[in-house]
Symmetry: C2
């Protein structure tokens, strides 16, 4: 089992740099090949790269709420993250991050607030969400079994399992229920800390693969991840759903729970349906 700090995810998100004068920080790292879908870096991996630098810039332990707008595809090679501290308060620190590729193009712009997600752990809790069923890890099927015709490098880094009842077949009729349920884990069994939740939020195939839409790439415009707790050990229980595909746009809502039955992240994307040629 890989440890936090010594895993392929840690290497792939390593960032060197610091905050300099005027609250601006400069960080450098490498967009590592193999965290991709058909050659484009996964959106959760891109967010993790930026958030790792932003977390360092903030001086706080965890991302609490982060939003990325996706501007250009991420290709392997050196990247930089420029950070700006917007406000450094007692409990939280708000930071912007700009991830730029080797060709000078900005890949994502991020706005986030950082802090200690367990700082309010003594407060009274109320949870009315209904839990959702996922078949046991070993009875779920690997993501590779799912609807796609492109090479998913991410499948070698992660061990994402999909509940058999929500698998989208590569051929044949679509179910019409835009939902994936399953488990998220790293292939090397690195524990899922809050940074890993950036990846978990975007590690499943798009739920719209269950709909009879034009096939093809569904680009993410924006993704927001709320970190709600530090996960207990073990695979993360996940559900991703789309309820509204309108005007060529759709949301994908994610819930990520840990093995102790606690919510650890909520995510929402806005994405575009595949374009006509």
């Amino acid at each position: 089992m890989a440890e936090i700090g010594a895993s392929e995810f840690d290497t792939a998100t390593a960032m060197t740099g610091s905050v300099e004068e005027h609250r601006v920080g400069h960080f450098a790292g490498e967009l590592v090949d193999g965290w991709d879908i058909g050659g484009n870096a996964n959106g959760g991996y891109l967010l993790a790269l930026a958030v790792r630098a932003m977390t360092t810039a903030s001086g706080r332990p965890h991302p609490i709420t982060v939003t990325a707008h996706y501007l250009a595809p991420g290709r392997p090679g050196p990247v930089t993250v420029t950070t700006e501290i917007v406000k450094s308060g007692k409990r939280f620190c708000t930071v912007t991050g700009s991830l730029v590729g080797v060709d000078g193009r900005e890949i994502i712009r991020v706005l986030g607030t950082f802090g200690d997600v367990r700082a309010g752990a003594g407060e009274r809790e109320f949870v009315t969400a209904e839990p959702f069923h996922v078949a046991p890890f070993d009875e779920c099927v690997p993501r590779t079994a799912n609807s796609t015709t492109v090479t998913v490098g991410l499948n070698d880094r992660l061990d994402v399992r999909i509940d058999p009842s929500t698998v989208a077949p590569i051929e044949g009729p679509r179910s019409g229920e835009a939902e994936f349920r399953g488990w998220f884990a790293f292939a090397d069994r690195r524990p899922s800390d809050p940074l890993a939740l950036m990846l978990a939020a975007d590690a499943f195939p798009p739920a719209v693969f269950h709909l009879d839409l034009r096939p093809g790439w569904v680009p993410t415009l924006e993704m927001t991840v709320h970190v709600r707790d530090v996960a207990a050990p073990g695979p993360l229980r996940c559900r991703f759903r789309t309820r509204h595909v309108t005007n060529g746009l759709f949301e994908e809502d994610g819930e990520v729970w840990d093995s102790a039955g606690r919510l650890v992240a909520l995510s929402r994307q806005m994405a575009l349906v595949a374009r006509a040629e």
Copy 2:
């Protein structure tokens, strides 16, 4: 009935300015008294102020997805919005906005993508969301009837009605169901364009007023609004829910539908439970 461009909301969000060199824009306006809750400007009003300037800067008709991080309370007086165009693409334009008050303090930082929300109107649609029931407008009760001991200036600007089954009484036991359903309209009956959806997303009392939490102010850390359509005329059907209050944090999820039965906005906030004294 007030018209778009000639209503108190339009006056209260008027912004003078333009984009200058290096993709940076400078706008000036007024944070108008009376759009407040207990003296602090409503979060949706603050977002509308920034988004109005950002929409102009983008050169596009509508906000599509915008995220605000709340940094300081908004008090009446002159404000500025500094915008930066992050990327101007064919279909969308991504812009940042910084709303600063008369004392020089930054009130909110916003990141958003702008475009024509109906550009993909010819695409195939799929909606699996279950509609939610709201009693007819005239059978709903004004927001003023709801749980609060502070003066809500916003109540004079808006005509927010709450379904009787979801009213939170000012005294007595809480229902434990953190949900408000009701209608959003302007008091002067200005139509609700996409800019108005910024306000609709934050116009109801916090859904956590239904829970037996420590009473008091529940500050918003972050709010994201997805604009999904241009609303048909008439009051907007709204639902706001909180399902997880954990670690002193909670989400509030909003859905806003128009009179034609179409989704016009999805919103999500992350907020903090009231602090112990």
